[in-house]
Symmetry: C2
Subunit: 344 residues, 2 copies
DNA sequence: AATTAGCACTCAGGAACAATGAGTGCTAAC
DNA sequence: GTTAGCACTCATTGTTCCTGAGTGCTAATT
C-alpha cells in the first residue's frame, strides 16, 4: 500500500483544496491546478486508486472527491509542512504577554480569545492545575461581626477566596491564632493535601490553643474542602456557526451543548500527553464530534505538564496553521510559567 | 381605541396560544378553545378590528394571526397575571443560596445557570458593582525574589488580585511599610477612587518613608489602575438554538456574536432602572434583537441598585413565568447582599 | 344590530417532473 | 502509461400543480 509520488501529490492537492473551499474536488478542476501536468482522465484513474485505498471518498456516485478520515490522518502525518506564520500572527500571539502586571486568569482568557480570532475555530484553554500548587499563605479578613473572607495564596500566585460566617462568639484572637498555626503548618503543602493535613496535624494544635475548637475545625474543614478544578476558558464559541459543514442547526446545537458541558470537555483535553496531539473525526470517540477535529497542545514547567490549549474545528481544518499557532503559544505559556515557578 | 371585553379575551388567547405553539392562530382553532362561545366568523370580524388597531398581524394574506409588538406590549401591560410558580421552581431557586461558605461569583454564576434551566431562554447576570465597594485591606505577598501578588479585599468580601514583579533591589521592609501606609490611608475608599487618592495623599507619605519612592509609586499606580468592571455571567447561551423562530442560522450567528460582545450587553443591562423591566422587540433599539425580548430585574441593597439579572428570549416569550422567576430571584439576591452589607 | 353560515379567494408548502451541469467510469486510441 | 471521448449518474434548480388552512365579504338568521 505504498503511494506513488503522483498519488501523494494528488492527495495533498485534494486535501488542501477541500480545506480551502469545502467543496468536493473534481478531476477536471484538479487538472488545472498549478503543478499538475497530467490530464483529468489520469487523475480520475489515480483517484479511483486512492479511493480504493480509503484515502478519499465521494459524497455521491458522480461527485468530486473529499478526503476521508484516513486521508486527513495521512495528510497530517506525512504531507504536512508546518505553516510559516506571518510576523503579524506572531506579534499578536506575543501581545498576550505584554503586560507587566497581570492576573494569570486574564492571560489564559486572552490566549483563548486570540487563538480563536486567529483561526476562526473554537479554542479551549485549560487553566494550570492549581491543586498541585503549594500553599504560600492563608489569611482571614473579618468583614463584619459574623462574616469573614478567607484567602489562600499559592506559590504560583494563584489566589482562592471564600466567604464564610462565624458566630460572633468566636474571638478575634482565636482567629488570629488559628491563622498563625495554619500558616506555620501548611506552608508548602499542595492544595489537594490540605484537608488531610489539617486533620492529621493541625487539629491537635488547635485543640491546645483555641477555645472554640470544634467549631473552628469544622469551619476550616469546610473551607478547605474546596474543589479546585482547573478552570476552562473558551474563545470563539460561535465560530463553528460560520463553518459551512454545520449549516444543520441540530448538529450545531448538539455540538454547542457538548461544549457547554465543562467537566466533559475538561476530561477530554486533560487526558492528552505532552506535545501536540491531533484527533480527527471519529478518533475523538464521540458521535457528536465525528465531523470535528481537536488539536491539543500542552504547556508545562520543566517536565511537569500543567495545562492544555486546544482548538476545535471541522475535520476540514487548517491543520498546519493551527498546529503552528498552538506550537508557539504553548511555548510562550511555558516560558511565562517557568519564569514564575523556577525562582521559587 | 378602547377594546371590548371580547376583543381583550381574543387578544389574550391569541398571545397565549402563540407563545405556546409558535404557530399563527386561526379563527377556527380559536373558536374551539375553552371559554370561547362565539363562532369563527365572529372571531374573524374581531380579529380584523384588532388588526386594524395594530395588535395582531398576519404573516401572509391568508394566514392566521400573530401578535404584533404592540400586541405583546398590551398583553404585558394589561393582560398578564403573574404566573404562580410551583413549589418545585421555588425550591430550585432557593437552592442557589444553600451553602454556608461560598464565593460570591459562584452564587451569581449559579443564578444564571438555574435561571436559564428553568426558562429555556438565555440568562444574563451582571455581577454587583465592585467599583463602588470600599477597600477593606490590601496585602502584598512576595512569591519569590522578583514576583509578588497584590490582594485587594473590599468591605463586601470581593477579592481582586494582581501579579507583578519588583526588582530585587526593593527591600522587604519597604514593601511592608508601603502596605502599612496604604492600609492606613486607603481603608474605606471606594475602589474607583483609589488611583486619585494615591497621588493626592499617599505619594507624599511614601516619599518620606520609602527608599525607592519613584519605582514604588509607579508600580502602585499600575496596580491600582485596575479596570474593575462588573463581570457578566451567562446561562443557557445555546437555548436560543432550540427556539423555532431561530431556525435561520445567520440570525442565530448574529445574535450569538452580539451576546459575546460583553461590553455591549453589559451596557444594555446596566442602564435599566430599578424593578422589573420588559423590552419587546424593536424597543431594544437593535436590529439584531428585533425578534427578541429582554426582561431585566435589579438587585439592590437598601435604595442602592447593585446589579441586574436578565432573560433574553424570543418576543414569543413566556412573559408571566419569566417575570415571576426574575422577581423572586432578585428578591433573594437582594436579601443575601443586604445581610452582607448591612452589618458593616 | 349582532351573529353566523356560506362561499370565493389567497397563499405557503409539498410533490412531481424536467433541465442543467459537474462529475464519474470505462474503452479505445495515441 | 496516458489521454480523448462518451455514456451515465445525481444534486440542484426551476416549474407546475395540488392541497389545506386560513381569510374577507355577503346574505341569512337570531
Amino acid at each position: 500500500m505504498l503511494l506513488t509520488d503522483r498519488q501523494l501529490l494528488i492527495l495533498q492537492v485534494i486535501v488542501d483544496d477541500f480545506i480551502r473551499s469545502a467543496q468536493p474536488v473534481g478531476s477536471r478542476s484538479l487538472s488545472k491546478k498549478e503543478g499538475i501536468t497530467f490530464s483529468s482522465a489520469t487523475i480520475r484513474n489515480e483517484m479511483a486508486d486512492l479511493e480504493e485505498m480509503g484515502f478519499i471518498e465521494k459524497t455521491h456516485t458522480s461527485s468530486g472527491r473529499v478526503p476521508s478520515e484516513k486521508g486527513y490522518r495521512y495528510y497530517v502525518d506525512h504531507l504536512l509542512s508546518p505553516q510559516v506564520l506571518t510576523q503579524h500572527d506572531i506579534t499578536i500571539v506575543h501581545s498576550i504577554f505584554a503586560e507587566k502586571i497581570f492576573e494569570f486568569e486574564k492571560i489564559i482568557q486572552r490566549s483563548a480569545s486570540i487563538l480563536s480570532d486567529l483561526t476562526n475555530y473554537t479554542s479551549i484553554v485549560l487553566g494550570p492545575a492549581v491543586s498541585v500548587n503549594k500553599l504560600k499563605k492563608i489569611q482571614i479578613i473579618p468583614l463584619n461581626k459574623e462574616t469573614a473572607v478567607a484567602i489562600f495564596v499559592t506559590d504560583t500566585g494563584h489566589v482562592e477566596n471564600r466567604l464564610f460566617s462565624l458566630p460572633s462568639s468566636v474571638h478575634a484572637s482565636d482567629i488570629e491564632k488559628t491563622v498563625n498555626i495554619l500558616n506555620e503548618r501548611l506552608n508548602g503543602v499542595p492544595l489537594e493535601d490540605l484537608n488531610d493535613k489539617i486533620y492529621k496535624e493541625v487539629a491537635i494544635l488547635l485543640r491546645q490553643h483555641i477555645h472554640n475548637y470544634d467549631l473552628m475545625l469544622n469551619t476550616l474543614a469546610q473551607l478547605l474542602k474546596m474543589p479546585v478544578t482547573e478552570k476552562l476558558f473558551f474563545g470563539g464559541k460561535t465560530n463553528m456557526l460560520s463553518q459551512p459543514e454545520f449549516h444543520d442547526i441540530s448538529k450545531i446545537r448538539d455540538l454547542m451543548t457538548m461544549i457547554d458541558q465543562e467537566e466533559w470537555i475538561s476530561n477530554i483535553i486533560r487526558n492528552n500527553s505532552k506535545g501536540i496531539n491531533v484527533k480527527i473525526g471519529s478518533e475523538n470517540k464521540n458521535k457528536i464530534m465525528d465531523d470535528c477535529s481537536l488539536i491539543t497542545a500542552t504547556y508545562s514547567v520543566g517536565e511537569e505538564k500543567l495545562g492544555s490549549i486546544a482548538i476545535l474545528g471541522p475535520t476540514r481544518m487548517e491543520y498546519s496553521r493551527v498546529i503552528s499557532l498552538l506550537g508557539i503559544l504553548s511555548k510562550d505559556l511555558t516560558n511565562v510559567l517557568t519564569k514564575l515557578y523556577q525562582n521559587n
